[in-house]
């Protein structure tokens, strides 16, 4: 049994190259701290995030997955985040329907100027996922060492 007080969640963050990844860089430049549990994967646009990637992360032991993109209307490719928004609405709703804790998934729009928002979002997300404890319902036990 894992000690809940020492539980460090594993968070995978998909960030679009143009806004949110730049926002994460800005958080870094301003030395705005958030837990090391967050690992960022760069994608060109939030619409590149395939639901399969999210499920894969959960399968391989991630405790939370967050997708960050440009604010609606600001997409570098004009419409990518609108598609992402629809896809994620359905996927998250389905995970909820299957009884997976809601707070393990999130979509957040973070612009390149919102370093502070990026750090605050990550702090909040890590806190929520930590409170949920380890991801048991979606874990693939084969792949755990």
């Amino acid at each position: 049994m894992q000690d809940v007080t020492n539980f460090k969640p594993l968070i995978v963050a998909f960030c679009c190259n143009w806004c949110s990844y730049a926002g994460a860089d800005l958080a870094g430049s301003n030395r705005l701290a958030y837990p090391a549990d967050v690992k960022i994967i760069r994608v060109p646009c939030s619409c590149r995030v395939n639901p399969m990637f999210i499920l894969r992360a959960f399968q391989r032991g991630a405790d939370g997955v967050i997708i960050c993109g440009c604010h609606p209307g600001d997409c570098h490719y004009t419409s990518g985040n609108y598609y992402a928004r629809r896809r994620m609405s359905l996927l998250f709703s389905m995970l909820d329907y299957l009884g997976i804790e809601r707070d393990r998934t999130r979509v957040e729009w973070v612009s390149a100027a919102e370093g502070a928002k990026f750090a605050a979002t990550m702090n909040d997300f890590v806190e929520k996922v930590t409170a949920l404890g380890p991801n048991k319902r979606l874990e693939d036990l084969r792949c755990k060492k």
């Binding site: 870094g28 430049s29 090391a36 960022i40 760069r42 992360a57 991630a62 570098h76 792949c143 060492k145």
Partner: protein, 665 residues
């Protein structure tokens, strides 16, 4: 198996302060594919780059991972370094251990642990990288401008000025567009013809510009730098190169009962006509719908009176094929139909007119030679009611009006009201408005002048009903500030009709694979930062086809579009971004999902024959991506149900490998 080199940067103490860089280099040494691992003070310095170059050669590396600052900072630098050492630049991956690690973590242990994981993810990705080569395509140094209004004219003149040939395609017999129909222009009140017609002449005289009038674009193929366009030149039954524009035929033609569209049907023209005196090209056109000769074979008056012998009843539509490097859409607008607005009695009374009709009524070249006379009885109107926002900001009923603000109506109504009071001070002028919007240089002052100096009655509130009674128009309206209903006996009611994109735009957008919004305005590539480009590469937007605009704005956008076109045509070759989508034809279902989400129209479908394992051939519909047009967003890769569509540089298996590497703790 790749031969990967890992290079960990200290960035002075920026990274080394919170990340044990030596431990990172050591830990990554044993990752799959890694044959070399090193750390150095400043990887981006010349010495650091030399170190990478030497290692690439010494260890015969097939890929490198640089653990350093954000790829947004130095990815380009390290790609160049790799290329200089003979390695494909797309075999470089960056692990961001500064902005996303050392700078935000204070604890050395967790910082180091995270840096190692980020390094592992980058290594996992490089293991699946493949060398990518950007495609190159030539640029045809000629531009096409669709639409010959002020937007198209200005764009064409600016492009031609830079030395590139330009063709203007205009559906009407003359260029000039809506501006040619206007009387005066706000806020300076100079006459539209005085400032427009010299430009039209410039176009006609410019050797770089060809005008295809009475023509339309019927087919567009190809992509940025290489458009193949078919232009249909409709038969005008007059030889353009021979006609001198003397106008004798237009006086002698016996068919006099043709509604004159230039004056919005308020008077008649002949079956052979020149739209207006300053038309360019100044060539007569026979209206085949009305010409007795063309319909019955009996008449031929125009041919008899034409001393130049320019009339050709046998003329046929011609199709011209031409190559272009860039296309500018300048299709403009039209006022919406007033048919559905029964409350304003537009169809019941001749004295209820639109603002564009009012322009013609006050224009010296118009049906009344510039005298403001009622269309019904030719009397001078003494009470005129202007109604603003007719069909604009009308969200509730999409069939009737438009949800957006048409932007120009406040100003031209102020202009009409002011000019009326100026010429005919005995006239009472009322303007009913919802809001008066005058955001422009010297615009609000203009409107205030109409109120303060010219005594135009601006009343906040809308007209609810207009009913013709005798020779008066009973106007029932609300005065919201006084809080009462007004009843005015008007002689003339002028409706500021909303404007909508020209109907031809929808078909054109399909041909160009340029996207449109729900109102059929063309969408810009970025609403703030790329306002004159369409998301489709090589297609540019000029004027009201992109959204309601007044003349100054249209002209500045036209110039901006021209400068973008010039920037494109200056290049001999276009180098693409190799990180574009690619379709695996063997797996493609042909379902069109990807095509529907592509904002650039980069995906096309074709039927292809496939040889099957059982030696039969099967014809299947499959997608292919034009790498010159694709911008690499990846929307298609997720829309594709079979996974046939993948994105170079961000392939499904690469991202999965990153996920796995991060989660394998």
């Amino acid at each position: 198996m790749q031969r990967i080199g890992v290079f960990v940067c200290h960035c002075g103490t920026n990274i080394a302060g919170t990340v044990d860089v030596v431990a990172v280099a050591e830990a990554l040494k044993n990752e799959p594919g890694v044959v070399h691992s090193a750390e150095y003070q400043y990887m981006c310095s010349q010495a650091g780059q030399d170190l990478i170059k030497a290692a690439i050669k010494e260890h015969n590396l097939s890929g490198i991972v640089v653990c350093s600052c954000s790829p947004r900072m130095h990815e380009a630098t390290f790609r160049k370094t790799a290329a200089a050492a003979g390695l494909n630049p797309y075999m470089v991956e960056i692990a961001n251990i500064r902005e996303q690690c050392s700078w935000i973590h204070k604890d050395m242990a967790s910082g180091t642990e995270k840096a190692i994981i980020l390094g592992k993810a980058a290594i996992a990705k490089v293991n699946l990288n493949t060398p990518l080569t950007p495609g190159e395509s030539p640029v045809t140094k000629r531009a096409l401008v669709i639409g010959g209004g002020i937007a198209g004219i200005q764009t064409a003149l600016d492009i031609a000025d830079a030395g590139f040939p330009v063709d203007i395609v205009e559906t009407k017999p003359t260029i000039g567009g809506k501006m040619a129909q206007l009387d005066k222009t706000f806020p300076t009140l100079d006459c539209a013809a005085c400032i427009l017609t010299p430009k039209m002449v410039d176009v006609a005289q410019n050797e770089k510009i060809r005008i295809f009038s009475y023509s339309e674009v019927v087919d567009v193929r190809g992509f940025v730098g290489n458009f193949d366009v078919t232009i249909k030149k409709r038969a005008r039954y007059v030889k353009e190169d021979i006609c001198t524009g003397c106008g004798l035929c237009t006086e002698k033609c016996p068919q006099k009962k043709v509604p004159n569209e230039f004056n919005l049907g308020m008077d008649n023209r002949r079956a052979i006509y020149i739209p207006f005196a300053q038309a360019v090209p100044k060539v007569a056109t026979i209206d085949a719908d009305y010409c007795t000769m063309l319909k019955t074979g009996k008449c031929g008056v125009c041919a008899k009176v034409c001393t130049a012998g320019a009339i050709d009843y046998e003329a046929k539509d011609e199709f011209i094929e031409e190559k272009y490097g860039a296309v500018v859409v300048a299709t403009g607008f039209n006022p919406i139909s007033m048919d559905k607005f029964d409350e304003f009695a537009y169809n019941q009374s001749k004295d209820v007119i639109t603002s564009l009709e009012f322009e013609r009524l006050t224009n010296a070249a118009g049906p009344t030679a510039g005298k403001l006379l009622r269309p019904s009885d030719g009397e001078h109107p003494h009470t005129i009611v202007f109604v603003q926002c007719v069909g604009s900001r009308c969200e509730a009923c999409a069939e009737k009006g438009k949800e957006y603000c048409s932007k120009i109506c406040c100003m031209y109504t102020a202009k009409h009201a002011m000019l009326t009071r100026d010429k005919y001070p005995d006239t009472d002028v009322y303007v009913f408005y919802i809001d008066v919007r005058t955001p422009g240089k010297a615009f609000d002052e203009f409107y205030r002048r109409a109120v303060e100096e010219y005594g135009v009655h601006y009343i906040k509130g809308m007209v609810g009903k207009v009913s013709p009674e005798g020779n008066k128009l009973k106007v029932q309206a609300s005065d919201l500030i006084a809080g009462k209903q007004l009843h005015i006996d008007a002689d003339l009611v002028v409706l500021a009709a909303a404007i909508e994109p020209d109907k031809s735009a929808r078909g054109l957008a399909t041909m160009l694979t340029a996207s449109m919004d729900t109102n059929d305005f063309f969408t810009e590539a970025h609403p703030k930062l790329r306002p004159v480009e369409s998301p489709t590469a090589g297609v540019f937007l000029s004027g009201t086809c992109q959204g309601p605009k007044d003349i100054p704005e249209t002209v500045s956008q036209a110039g901006a579009a021209a400068s973008k076109v010039i920037g494109l045509l200056c290049k001999d070759k276009l180098t693409g971004n190799p990180c574009v989508a690619q379709s695996d034809e063997m797996m493609c279902n042909g379902c069109s999902s990807c095509e529907r989400v592509c904002p650039y129209g980069a995906i096309t479908y074709s039927d292809k024959e496939f040889r099957m394992p059982d030696r039969t051939t099967k014809i299947r519909r499959v997608a292919s991506v034009n790498p010159a047009v694709c911008q690499g967003c990846g929307a298609c890769t997720v829309a594709c149900p079979s996974g046939a569509m993948d994105l170079n540089g961000f392939k499904n298996n690469q991202i999965m490998a990153e996920v796995d590497a991060i989660c394998k703790m």
